[in-house]
């Protein structure tokens, strides 16, 4: 932090650092201009609020210079980067994402704020409005969790569309488009529940913030809302590392399912979550995806990983997969019911520790790539469904197969591949 360029900062922090009405944690790289624009929008929140902005400054991204005082018609903003935890030890690297989220929540509790907002996405449009849209429902007092509803192109956020979102929808009974954020708005009540569960669970098996926020809010019957956001930028795929991505994304999801088993087994028909703001239309140009390599990956996995999949999947599913692997690439279609049962069977195997969990999740990669190829073919076919219609059809399949998952979860010995 370039402290000599912000001579007023320490004094401001000392005076303002005892409490705040709202805490905004900026975990993404944002330029000083973007932060300034965001602060201008936040000042228009009703109620003359005291807002703390937490952002780690560095030489390439120095903190904005000016805090502001409240006036009757606007809120005050002060910068308090010292509340963000620093990595300890010599030569320590940056904090992990989970630790960064925990740091913002802890700061919110210390400052006794009414709510916390976390901005972790790289934003492409209407940057100044994102924090405002997350904060406004919290300030009104009628929402505990604000989730983003991003405008997405047809091939963006595929893991979320094909596994995370429909799985959480079927299990927890709420139709959330981005249950894992990464941008969130949380009320004080929800932050306290999250920190309480983290202290209670503790250690390496504690909550993973990105995954646990929505399930904790839903299981505690808190109020959840979505806000329409614009587009965010996604990192380009690293094809050498898809397996690790699967393990990092789905491991915490499956762990959370195990943790909240008593809750989701009671949930019934999913309810729609109110979405605020105007949806942002995205013009999808017809993009061609090379599905041949995806289908080849699937075929290779079917040939070489039968021994591993046989420990997780029932014989009927293995038979269907072998039939699919013999199809030509252009005719490759994976039925939704098959994909849904595969996800449920892997979630169960993760709980039962049938094989090493890292091996289990990485071995799911060829199956996921097969689904992606099938999805691309569905969108590119004549008379194809729109992407949102296609994803909705998948989500309905997840709901329809939930009884299968519940019975296998309760009586795993009933069918034992």
């Amino acid at each position: 932090m370039a402290t000599n360029s912000i001579p007023q900062q320490p004094t401001e922090e000392t005076k303002s650092a005892d409490r705040a009405d709202l805490v905004i944690g900026i975990l993404a790289d944002m330029s000083p201009e973007a932060v300034a624009a965001m602060c201008s929008a936040l000042r228009t929140l009703p109620g003359s609020l005291r807002i703390a902005v937490l952002q780690n400054g560095n030489a390439n991204n120095p903190l904005p210079l000016q805090s502001s005082e409240a006036t009757p018609n606007s809120s005050s903003i002060f910068f308090a980067p010292s509340f963000l935890a620093k990595p300890s030890g010599p030569g320590a690297g940056p904090l992990t994402m989970a630790a960064s989220y925990q740091s913002v929540f802890t700061a919110g509790e210390k400052l006794q704020s009414r709510g916390c907002c976390v901005l972790a996405s790289r934003l492409e449009s209407e940057i100044q409005q994102w924090a405002y849209r997350l904060a406004a429902p919290l300030v009104g007092g009628d929402t505990d969790l604000v989730l983003p509803h991003y405008a997405r192109h047809q091939f963006e956020g595929l893991l979320n569309s094909c596994v995370v979102a429909p799985l959480m929808r079927a299990l927890y009974g709420k139709r959330l488009s981005n249950p894992m954020g990464p941008d969130f708005g949380l009320s004080r009540r929800l932050v306290q529940k999250l920190l309480g569960k983290e202290r209670g669970g503790g250690g390496a098996n504690g909550l993973h913030p990105l995954v646990s926020i929505a399930p904790v809010a839903l299981c505690e019957n808190l109020r959840v809302a979505e806000v329409h956001f614009g587009t965010r930028s996604y990192p380009p795929p690293d094809w050498t590392n898809i397996g690790s991505l699967m393990a990092e994304a789905l491991g915490p999801v499956f762990l959370d399912i195990e943790r909240h088993a008593a809750c989701w087994q009671r949930m019934r028909v999913p309810a729609v979550v109110p979405a605020m703001g105007e949806p942002v239309a995205v013009q999808d140009e017809p993009a061609s995806v090379e599905t041949t390599r995806l289908v080849e990956s699937f075929a290779l996995g079917t040939r070489e990983l039968q021994e591993i999949w046989g420990l997780v999947l029932p014989p009927a599913t293995l038979f269907e997969l072998r039939k699919l692997s013999r199809l030509a690439a252009a005719q490759f279609r994976m039925p939704d019911e098959l994909w849904v049962r595969i996800v449920y069977d892997f979630a169960l195997a993760h709980r039962l520790r049938t094989i090493n969990r890292d091996h289990l999740l990485k071995s799911m990669t060829p199956l996921y790539l097969g689904w992606v190829a099938s999805y691309a073919h569905d969108l590119q076919a004549d008379g194809a469904l729109r992407p949102d219609q296609r994803i909705e059809r998948l989500a309905v399949a997840f709901e329809a197969e939930k009884p299968y998952f519940v019975s296998r979860w309760r009586w795993p010995d009933r069918f034992n591949p």
Partner: protein, 234 residues
């Protein structure tokens, strides 16, 4: 003279019968020890088999990659292997106890040398078991990683790595057992080096064109992906 021959025969027969009679208690003890060890071994094997079945031992072994443990063996599943190994161990113990009942110096020496060799056997078995577990874990990791990288020779790579680790474990076990250590060292060096060289030749020279094309394709794809690939997973 015939009287002397007759006398010598009678004396040697008497000596033989006396010696044989002195062996009888030892023989009876040996037979009794073997029968008792068969009974005890059979009971222990049944108890252990039932305990392993209740613990779903075969399924856990399959999860750790030992599903083929019983396939190459005439004994059957891992549970059968363990229970019958226990039975044979108890039988061997009974046999050694029976042998020790003979009051000869060489039988006592034999029993003592067998008992002093048992720690080597236990160490060798441990090395083999741990080595096999590590070999299967590493092989599975390599197989999954290679399949995810779309390598067509994933199975070859995985089996090669498994063979390397198992050869290493077997060599270490044989060294523990102090069996022809010089020959084992030499054979291990040749075999290990041969496997590594074969893998390198198979992957490097034998699939040279394939690797070259694969690297060129990946390089072109990496350049094209930055602009054209619309897929975003997370």
């Amino acid at each position: 003279m015939w009287d002397q021959i007759k006398q010598a025969l009678i004396q040697s027969t008497a000596r033989f019968l006396t010696e044989f009679a002195s062996l009888l208690p030892g023989l009876a003890a040996l037979v009794l020890a073997v029968i008792l060890s068969v009974v005890v071994g059979w009971i222990l094997a049944i108890v252990v088999r039932r305990a392993l079945i209740s613990l779903r031992f075969d399924e856990r072994m399959a999860g750790w990659g030992f599903s083929s443990l019983g396939e190459g063996s005439p004994l059957g599943s891992p549970t059968s292997v363990v229970s019958r190994s226990l039975f044979l161990l108890v039988l061997l113990t009974g046999f050694l106890i029976g042998i020790a009942a003979f009051d000869f110096a060489w039988t006592s020496l034999f029993v003592r040398s067998v008992l002093s060799y048992i720690p080597n056997i236990i160490g060798a078995v441990l090395v083999l078991v741990v080595g096999t577990i590590i070999a299967r874990f590493v092989a599975r990791s390599v197989l999954i990683g290679a399949v995810n990288l779309n390598l067509q020779y994933a199975r070859l790579l995985s089996e090669g790595i498994k063979s390397l680790v198992i050869v290493l474990a077997v060599a270490m076990a044989l060294e523990h057992l102090k069996i022809a250590s010089g020959i084992v060292e030499l054979a291990f060096g040749i075999l290990f080096g041969g496997i590594v060289l074969s893998l390198a030749l198979a992957v490097g020279l034998g699939s040279k064109d394939l690797v070259t094309k694969s690297l060129e394709r990946d390089a072109k794809r990496a350049a094209a992906d930055e602009i054209e690939d619309p897929l975003r997973h997370l």
